[in-house]
């Protein structure tokens, strides 16, 4: 079964990308993606890391027409940092791998685990 692991990071965690902690930050993510791959869970080419929320633009249609706005979807404590798709037998396996993500550490953020819609072809 395929699950998207959606990584949400706190402001402090995202700030590490542009600080002296950057090597350790990216190293932890690289190691994590390797772990998913070594477990045979990673669906290669399925995911992406994202640039910071300050680079986001949101598009939405409202009653008064198209609204294009600076900023990410919702201004909450944690911001979308990236996502991958994994293929594992069940939710428990997905939750186990989600716990290993760098942003699942205390204060760093959270991971949302959500099943991917089945391929309409199959």
């Amino acid at each position: 079964m395929k699950y998207a692991l959606i990584f949400a990071e706190t402001q402090e965690e995202l700030a590490k990308r542009n600080s002296q902690d950057a090597p350790a930050y990216w190293g932890a993510w690289g190691a994590y993606i390797d772990l998913l791959d070594n477990e045979g869970a990673l669906v290669r080419g399925s995911g992406a890391g994202l640039t910071g929320p300050e680079t986001a633009t949101t598009v939405r249609s409202t009653e008064s027409g198209l609204a294009i706005q600076d900023g990410p979807l919702a201004a909450i404590k944690e911001q979308l940092g990236g996502f991958v798709v994994i293929d594992v037998p069940n939710l428990d396996a997905a939750l186990r791998l989600a716990q290993e993500a760098p942003c699942a550490k205390p204060g760093a953020g959270a991971v949302e685990v959500r099943p991917v819609l089945p391929d309409p072809e199959s």
Binding site: M1, Y3, L91, D92, A94, L95, P115
Partner: protein
Amino acid sequence: MQKLSPEFDRFLRESYARLLGQLLAKGFPLADSEDALLEAFRRYWEQKTDLEVAQPEAWVLTVARRLCIDSARKRKHNAPLEEISETSASDTAMETFEPDELADERLRVFFLAAHPAIDPAIQTLLMLQIGCGLSVAEVSTLLLEPAETVSQRIVRAKRKIKEAGIEPVLPAPNEVNARVGTVLTAVYALLLLSQDRPHSEDQISLAGEVMWLAKALAELCPDDPEALGLHSLVCLLESRRRARRTSSGVFLALADQKETDWDWQLIAEGEASLRKASAFARLGRFQLEAAIQSVMVAEKATGESRAPIVLRLYTELHRKFPTAGSHLGLVEASWRNLGPELALKELGEYSFSTEYLPYWALKAHLEREMGLSVPAKESFETAFRLARDNANREYLKAQIDRLDA
């Protein structure tokens, strides 16, 4: 399923989770397994007089398994033949059934129902339905919630199970302690349900289920102090079930119970688990509640007051795990230690649900002891309006009459 006969009802209830667990263990989906099981029970009921089945559970399981295979075939009618041939090879074989070996099969149903990915508010409903085999109507009667609400929640939870890929597997040994918490909480909710209503047939069979679960979980997690604490609490509460009501069903307070009516073997079992739990020096809610029960048993058995210890334990319980129940316990303990005036003050500082009967009953008792007959009578009358069973109503009516006299 409609009620057929008390014996059949008991058979269904006792076997349901075991058989469901067996089907899930074979990899059949929850929805198919449940439909098949109810249909198999129905067929058994219709044919049992002609069948002379030596092992009813094995018969029901065999029929249910065939029905599950049929459903899988119907759904997969385009699937290549070899995919289903494996399951159909043993189609006609009779299932063997060794009840003692099935603890894990049954437990996996409860771990599924109390999976942390399921809304905690729904876990109890799901445990009652797929774990204890109660119908939606029975669950709704037990929880005093509208059948429609119960049904919607159960449907929602089952959809989540299916779509999120939650599988009915027991957690691996290194994960079981992290996962058992939600199951313990859900069993605790079942325990409260089995305690707080009069002794109907439903309550007794639910109490048996809670007992089995608490014991099985304590055996599964012998190094989890809260699993041991819950087992202890269940034993200590259950040991007094018979003593808690007179033969006509009237409620008896601990002070009025006969110790000879207590089940001393269960008390010993509960004490043993509590001792094991305390060795870990990690005090939790269930251990605290069990300790309170243990002290109250000792107090009654020895005739020596331990009121200050009970007050200390309730204070700790209410500080760390505040609930309506811990609050009332604390008020009662304050009453014994500090008198009714201070207890009533403590009771009044909280304003939770005005529909909570024990609150009004305790308030009435405190007011009566302080000689406030008019407010006491009003409180008893409010409690009486909230009472749903006859034994409770009779008891409260007697209190009101006493104040009138």
